[in-house]
């Protein structure tokens, strides 16, 4: 059964599983049918499940998002795809004004068990608007759930969980690592828990928190630190909102040092939230200033500069070393 697949194939596998086992699931978006999605995330699904279950839409993101809202209120489980997360903005009104509020507005009479998927993040030399990381907008919105996988196995398990979740989920896929590595991902329909961090590496000297494609650089930095004699605990946020602060607080209480790594713009991002939470709840444990290694407060540049924008292993190491050297 077990097969070695990439992250994007794990997405396809999860979609196929749910389409197969829950007839209320439908998937739609731009170019997801015959074309199988511009990243092939839906490759073969239309052929397998038919045009009623898997279909192309007109070119209108507000509409795609609104279709998710409306279908989900009527007992279906729509999985909408936005071709790139930089094109989600026209649909932000449907997300903020309706998806996130439907249950609360009707005191539970209606609800939105929908998933909105989008590839996000930089690093693939894509054109303008194709490389941004604006997950904080959705994380800031009360009522949404934001989930970001960072490995094939977590992509499979978390997407299953997202589709089964009774509330709206924004599911962002780090396209930079869509095909980076293969992993064994049994197609067993086993979901992973939402709202829970994943500890990818244990260590007592410094806590590194990240998510998405940056997990990769973060793990590399941790390996390097180990060579240097410092054991980093590496935590993958997994669910960005509502997130599992307990695991992080518990770790920081042990290590006393925290570096948060994210490719999002710096100001008022998810990294800020984690730092703030720790500064409130674990201040006395901190042996060093919290470090955020993030994208800059600049537009994600065209690709000549994108690697200068994205946090590098070196930048993470720099921050980690500073916290390790810090003395109160």
């Amino acid at each position: 059964m077990a097969n070695r697949i990439t992250l994007v194939e794990a997405v396809t596998q999860a979609l196929a599983w749910e389409l197969e086992h829950d007839e209320s699931v439908v998937a739609f978006g731009q170019d997801i049918g015959a074309n199988g999605g511009v990243f092939r995330a839906t490759d073969g699904l239309q052929k397998r499940f038919g045009e009623k279950r898997v279909f192309d839409t007109p070119l209108a993101e507000a509409m795609i998002t609104g279709l998710c809202v409306g279908m989900s209120t009527q007992g279906m489980k729509p999985v909408g795809e936005i071709q790139f997360s930089g094109f989600m903005y026209p649909g932000v009104d449907q997300l903020i004004s309706h998806a996130s509020r439907m249950r609360n507005r009707t005191r539970g009479r209606l609800s939105c068990p929908m998933v909105l998927r989008a590839p996000y993040g930089g690093g693939i030399h894509a054109p303008e608007h194709h490389s941004e990381s604006m997950e904080a907008i959705y994380a800031h919105t009360p009522g949404l759930r934001v989930v970001i996988p960072s490995s094939p196995r977590r992509a499979y398990g978390l997407l299953l969980a997202a589709i089964r979740d009774p509330d709206p989920v924004v599911f962002l896929e780090p396209k930079r690592i869509y095909r980076l590595t293969k992993q064994e991902v049994p197609d067993d329909g086993e979901a992973l828990p939402l709202d829970t961090c994943f500890v990818l590496r244990e260590g007592g000297d410094v806590t590194l928190v990240s998510w998405g494609a940056m997990m990769n650089e973060t793990l590399k930095a941790a390996a390097k630190l180990a060579e240097e004699g410092a054991e980093a605990e590496v935590i993958d946020l997994g669910t960005i909102k509502p997130y599992d602060s307990e695991t992080i607080l518990e770790s920081v209480e042990r290590t006393g040092r925290l570096v948060i790594v994210a490719e999002e713009p710096r100001t008022a991002g998810v990294a800020a939230e984690i730092a703030a939470e720790v500064a409130e709840k674990a201040l006395y444990s901190l042996l060093a200033p919290i470090e955020r290694v993030t994208g800059y407060d600049t537009v994600m540049p065209l690709f000549q500069l994108e690697m200068s924008y994205l946090p590098s292993v070196e930048r993470i190491l720099g921050a980690a070393r500073r916290t390790l050297e810090a003395k109160r």
Binding site: V26, K52, T57, P58, A60, A62, M63, T65, G66, L67, C68, V69, G70, M71, S72, T73, Q74, G75, M76, P78, P90, D93, Q94, S97, H98, R103, N104, R105, T106, R107, G108, R109, L110, S111, P142, G143, R145, P166, D167, D195, P242, Y243, D244, S245, E246
Partner: protein, 357 residues
């Protein structure tokens, strides 16, 4: 230059402002006494409710309220054409339509009285959408609901109400385009009451009619006299039948007039002429309906008085229920955010409850 496409927009009116039929044969339902009495009674209850709600607001017992004065024939005509399992997506003043769906007056008061409990509908409305404040955004989720019905092969339609102002929003157009391309079972009811707060139709669009906006999406469009309950009901019946039969969506432009201020927070004298309102008053929907009923021999002064009394009782009871309802508890702010309360929110909930003590 050769001509590649031609279009026409039609207009339906069956009763003149004096209640006289303008065609030889009215639709069958217009001769059905029960139907016609039902329509009139709901219109009348709506008016009674609206009047009282404004009074409640004026005396500080209700929040901002959006009156439906003048729109009763459109709202009731469309609402009454719906099947129980159709779904309605209102904007924020279609009380008459909601009454046909079993929504209770006290719920509407509850909503404008600042509680989400007002949106917990039962009966035919149990699957209906709640009020939608962000103009025209209801057009998109309505398309989603319609697509769900189509996907499951259910013969159900979605009726979405929006205003003339709402037709300027991209969301209206995207919803319309979805309806067109997938032949969705939808009816877009554009309640053209000539004003969007202080903006008259001429500053909203250069289109000669709002029905023609359907053409942009290849969707059938029709105008109707929105103060003519029989015409409204007829075009709504037709549009809903087509929708349920898989014959595609319709845009209905109902021509009516907002006789009231936009909401109780508005003062329309700042921006529109009294004489325009007076002229519109002469075409309002009640007189002609009543006269038509009289011409059928099923209505008179006595019946009218009895109805007024009955409506008063109904509205009194609703106001009482509204005023006696408990205020929302702080917990309610948290308990419907997610199906299950996440840990982080549990903490915030506890803090808020502590503070409330």
């Amino acid at each position: 230059m050769k001509t590649t496409a031609r279009f026409e927009i039609g207009y339906e009116q069956l009763l003149d402002p004096d209640g006289k039929p303008m065609v030889k044969r009215l639709p069958a339902f217009a001769n059905d006494k029960k139907t016609m009495l039902g329509l009139y009674k709901t219109m009348s209850l709506t008016r009674a409710f609206d009047t009282r709600a404004i009074a409640l607001q004026r005396t500080g017992k209700l929040g901002t309220y959006a009156s439906c004065l003048g729109h009763e024939a459109t709202h009731v005509g469309v609402g009454s054409a719906m099947a129980e399992d159709d779904v309605m997506a209102p904007s924020y003043r279609e009380y008459g339509a909601q009454f046909t769906r079993g929504v209770k007056p006290e719920q509407i008061l509850g909503y404008w009285g600042g509680s989400e409990r007002g949106n917990v509908y039962e009966g035919p409305a149990a699957g209906d959408f709640a009020w939608c404040v962000p103009i025209a955004s209801q057009c998109l989720y309505s398309a989603g609901a319609a697509l769900a019905f189509k996907t499951r092969g259910e013969k159900r339609a979605v009726v979405v109400f929006l205003g003339d102002g709402g037709t300027s929003e991209g969301a209206f157009y995207e919803g319309l385009n979805a309806a067109g391309v997938w032949d969705l079972p939808m009816v877009f009811v554009i309640v053209n009451n000539r004003w969007a707060i202080s903006v008259p139709l001429a500053r909203q669009t250069r289109a000669e009619t709002l029905a023609q906006k359907g053409l942009a999406a290849g969707v059938r469009g029709v105008q109707v006299d929105g103060n003519d309950i029989i015409a409204v009901r007829k075009v709504a019946d037709e549009a809903l039948k087509r929708a349920r039969e898989g014959k595609g969506p319709t845009v209905i432009e109902a021509l009516t007039y907002r006789l009231s201020d936009h909401t109780t927070a508005d003062d329309a004298t700042r921006y529109r002429e009294a004489k325009e309102v007076e002229a519109a008053q002469r075409k309002e929907p009640f007189v002609r309906t009543r006269k038509y009923l009289e011409s059928l021999g099923i209505w008179d002064e006595k019946k009218e008085k009895a109805l007024v009394a009955e409506n008063k009782k109904t509205v009194d009871a609703a106001v009482k229920a509204y005023q006696e309802a408990e205020r929302d508890s702080v917990a309610a702010m948290f308990d419907h955010m997610y199906a299950e309360l996440p840990d982080s929110l549990r903490e915030q909930r506890e803090a808020a409850l502590r503070e409330a003590e």
